[in-house]
């Protein structure tokens, strides 16, 4: 790993954004935030974390929009509407077309485990 990996986070909740900044920054990642409403073509990054509201409906489109903005970049979807007991890379992740899903409320261990799993793996 030559430089610190770049992670782009799409999260509208201010507190959650701050928390992610805290956790990821402390773990040695470079974090920048995107606006999911106008996800334009962005500079390449190593990982995208996107918060999904209503993953069954509009959320899925939102994820696709962001994936289009970051081609060939792994995506982690986080949502308060994932049910408990979700497998990180299970059927839900496949349905959404993302690498992994993590249910909110987030815990540091879960999140970092997922992030490291993707970036180092």
């Amino acid at each position: 790993m030559s430089a610190a990996p770049d992670i782009v986070v799409y999260e509208e909740d201010r507190l959650t954004r701050a928390l992610l900044q805290e956790w990821l920054g402390e773990a040695g990642f470079r974090v920048r935030f995107g606006n999911s409403r106008c996800a334009g073509r962005d500079a390449p990054c190593d990982l995208v974390i996107v918060s999904v509201y209503m993953p069954k409906q509009a959320g899925a489109d939102c994820v696709r929009g962001i994936q289009a903005a970051h081609p060939d970049t792994p995506v982690i979807a986080i949502s308060g509407q994932f049910r408990a007991g979700l497998a990180a890379a299970g059927a839900t992740a496949q349905a959404l077309g993302v690498r992994q899903v993590v249910a909110k409320p987030l815990t540091r261990n879960d999140l970092l485990e997922s992030v490291r799993g993707i970036i180092t793996g």
């Binding site: 909740d13 507190l15 959650t16 701050a18 928390l19 805290e22 956790w23 509201y53 209503m54 993953p55 069954k56 409906q57 949502s79 308060g80 509407q81 994932f82 049910r83 408990a84 007991g85 979700l86 497998a87 299970g90 059927a91 839900t92 349905a95 959404l96 249910a103 909110k104 409320p105 987030l106 815990t107 540091r108 261990n109 879960d110």
Partner: protein, 713 residues
């Protein structure tokens, strides 16, 4: 029984249809009755008319013929009277040998008189218009002779039909008396009227089918009949000489023995009567034909009316059904919109709350790290974290009934899940309650989360158990079903296709119609406060909807409730093979503390563990359990506790009990395979975390492992 949104309006709708149906039936019956009645009346009127017309016709014919008879007999009588006068005044002037010829000349003027004869006072024939070509006979014994001889004022006498002695022909004799100058009886002049001639006259008149003309004397003696009846002529038929008192009644005709209408007219100035008879059967034939036509017409109209009625009834029934369907659909739509709104609301709450909780838990954790050296602050933060964990569980439950949640879906063999749940429940059923199951779905599988499927069965069965106070039977059935058309159920409708149908029916108290439509609403509960969360059926509804299924619900107060859960079959999955239970490790009477806020699960666990040779003590409240442990910390050999419980969650209970007895073997049970739970559990020293639904094998092996290690240091 379909749940209806507004109990008042469909009722009035149905009674409106009922009134409509009654009205149509009444109207139809009225129309038919009116037709039948009017036809019967017409027939009756027609009958009366036919009788009257027949009577009128017969009377007219009788009168006319009588009048004709009068005229023709008047001619005969004129001949006789004139001959008598002529004979008295002229006979002396004419030579006797010319008298016969003179008579013949007179007679030839009157067609129907065959012969005129003059007799002396002894009945000897003096002169004959036809001459004496045939032998002379004495007529002193003949009725006409005797009548003229004995009654000077008799005038013209008409005899009964008799056979003439000179020619042997049947004839009626018209006679008049001959007096001498002193007025003494001097003989008779007679006219021999040929019956054939007389008959000839009546024969020219057409009196109609089945009719007969009879000329009778006043005493009923038949003189002439047309149609001819030679054997009856001369006999007396009193019935023919008098008209019946009831003008339209029939008489038995003595000649042919049939029922006849009759009209009798006297022949003026003669002792004769003319009777016209008509066979009643023949006379009424036109009426009968007409009546049959009317009857057929009425029958056809009645049938058409009945057909129309049936069609209208069917139409009303269809419309009624359509109305019911519409109401059902509307109520379903309303219900699904409501659930949708609740789901959206719950999804929004979950989203926001999870962000909030994430922040609390995340920063709380960071703070905990910073507060490592400050035990007091550390405890405060721990409590914040626990409170947040509880909030998180609540949010999870809310997400359970909202359809906005997204979870992993795999092919799940429904029968295996249902069977497992029933086995789990059966061990803990209250006295008197039993489950009868008929599972025939085989390898049918739905696409979903087995935990949720388990929850559906569990919630329905638990509900059923709670509905039956004092025992009863819960029937659980699982079968495949194929729908070839869209099917509308109480909750939701199904597209054609293959389904598995899970039926859970209890014989319990039933659900009053008033609350039937609310039972799937979140937080709606009829249970005592604290007995349940009120989320059970709403979770069922949420899960079933999520699986693409629908729920049918029938309930009658007093006779029980039946839930039918229809789930679309997504494929086939083999039933996981069940391991034989005999090789489960057994306990040696160790006392176990069981804590779960769901009583059936506690009872189940007690049952299973008692069978495994342990001494289980169950608690449905973690507070009570904690108090019991404080009261006797050494009583228990192990602790089995559920994680998600109101008031005091499992991990917190474990933490507090561990502070009393740090080495107590502890098993945590959780419905959620949350990896954080495992880490939190190991943090506070939980020995084993078992995922619900529990398997006897898992518990047995875990306990054997823990107690075995505990026993053998």
């Amino acid at each position: 029984m379909s749940p209806v949104s507004d109990p008042a309006s469909p009722d009035t709708g149905h009674s409106r249809f009922q009134r409509l149906q009654l009205g149509v039936v009444a109207l139809g019956i009225l129309v038919i009755l009116a037709f039948v009645g009017s036809s019967a009346h017409d027939a009756w009127r027609s009958y009366q008319y036919t009788l009257a017309a027949t009577h009128r016709e017969l009377t007219n014919i009788a009168n006319a013929l009588a009048e004709q008879t009068v005229w023709s007999l008047q001619a005969d009588d004129l001949l006789l009277a004139d001959t008598a006068r002529w004979y008295r005044s002229e006979s002396q002037k004419i030579r006797p040998e010319d008298l016969n010829a003179a008579l013949a000349a007179r007679t030839s003027a009157v067609q129907q008189v065959r012969e005129v004869i003059i007799m002396d006072a002894q009945g000897n024939q003096l002169y004959r218009s036809r001459g004496f070509s045939t032998p002379n006979h004495n007529a002193s014994d003949r009725s006409y002779f005797i009548a003229q001889r004995d009654d000077p004022g008799i005038g013209m006498f008409i005899s009964e039909p008799l056979t003439t002695r000179s020619e042997g022909r049947t004839a009626v004799i018209l006679s008049r008396r001959l007096d001498d100058d002193q007025g003494r009886f001097a003989g008779v002049v007679i006219a021999n009227v040929d019956l054939e001639e007389l008959n000839q006259f009546y024969r020219t008149v057409d009196v109609g089918a089945g009719s007969a003309v009879s000329l009778v004397r006043d005493d009923g003696t038949l003189l002439v009949r047309n149609p001819r009846a030679p054997e009856a002529v001369g006999r007396k038929f009193s019935a023919l000489s008098v008209a019946p008192s009831e003008p339209l009644s029939t008489v038995r005709n003595p000649i042919d023995g049939r029922a006849d209408f009759i009209a009798v007219a006297p022949v003026r100035n003669t002792p004769l009567r003319l009777a016209v008879t008509r066979d009643a059967h023949v006379a009424l034939q036109p009426w009968r034909d007409e009546t049959i036509r009317v009857a057929i017409r009425t029958l056809i109209i009645t049938l058409l009316s009945a057909l129309t009625l049936a069609i209208m009834m069917r139409q009303i029934r269809l419309e009624k059904q359509a109305q019911i369907d519409k109401e059902l659909l509307e109520s379903q739509l309303k219900q699904s919109q409501k659930m949708e709104a609740i789901g959206t609301l719950a999804g929004g709450i979950a989203h926001d709350f999870n962000n909030v909780l994430g922040a609390i838990l995340g920063y709380g954790e960071l703070a905990q790290q910073q507060a490592a050296d400050d035990p007091k602050l550390r405890r405060y933060l721990d409590n914040v974290m626990h409170a947040a964990e509880r909030a998180k569980l609540l949010v999870e439950r809310i997400l359970g009934f909202s359809r906005s949640g997204l979870g992993d879906s795999v092919l799940v063999n429904v029968q295996a899940v249902v069977k497992e749940t029933i086995e789990l429940l059966e061990a803990s059923l209250p006295v008197g309650v039993r489950i009868e199951s008929a599972l025939t779905a085989g390898t049918a599988a739905v696409l979903g989360d087995p935990t949720y499927l388990h929850q559906v069965t569990m919630n329905l069965c638990t509900n059923a158990v709670q509905a039956m106070h004092g025992g009863g039977v819960i029937e659980v059935a699982l079968q495949r079903a194929h729908l070839s058309a869209v099917k509308t159920l109480a909750r939701g409708s199904l597209a054609p296709g293959d389904y598995v149908r899970l039926t859970v029916a209890d014989s319990g108290a039933g659900i009053p119609p008033a609350i039937l439509e609310r039972i799937f609403d979140p937080f709606f509960t009829t249970k005592e406060v604290g007995d349940g969360t009120g989320l059970g059926l709403s979770v069922v509804h949420g899960i079933v909807s999520d699986l693409g299924g629908a729920i049918d619900l029938t309930s009658a107060v007093g006779s029980g409730t039946r839930f039918d859960i229809w789930l679309p079959v997504a494929g086939e999955a083999a039933t996981p093979s069940v391991e034989p239970p005999e090789n489960l490790p057994h306990g040696k009477g160790e006392t176990l503390m069981i804590v779960d806020d769901e009583r059936p699960l506690v009872e189940l666990a007690e049952e299973v563990l008692a069978e495994l040779g342990y001494e289980p003590v169950g608690f449905v409240s973690s507070r009570v359990a904690l108090d019991a442990f404080r009261a006797a910390p050494d009583r228990f050999d192990a602790l089995l506790t559920d994680e998600s419980m109101p008031d005091l969650i499992g991990t917190e209970l474990v933490r507090q009990i561990r502070s009393l007895r740090p080495s107590l073997p502890t098993i945590l049970m959780s419905g959620h395979g949350d990896p954080r739970l495992a880490s939190r559990a190991s943090e506070i020293g939980v020995d084993e975390v078992l995922r619900k639904p529990l398997h006897g094998r898992d518990i047995a092996e875990a306990l054997a492992r823990l107690l075995g290690t505990a026993r053998s240091p």
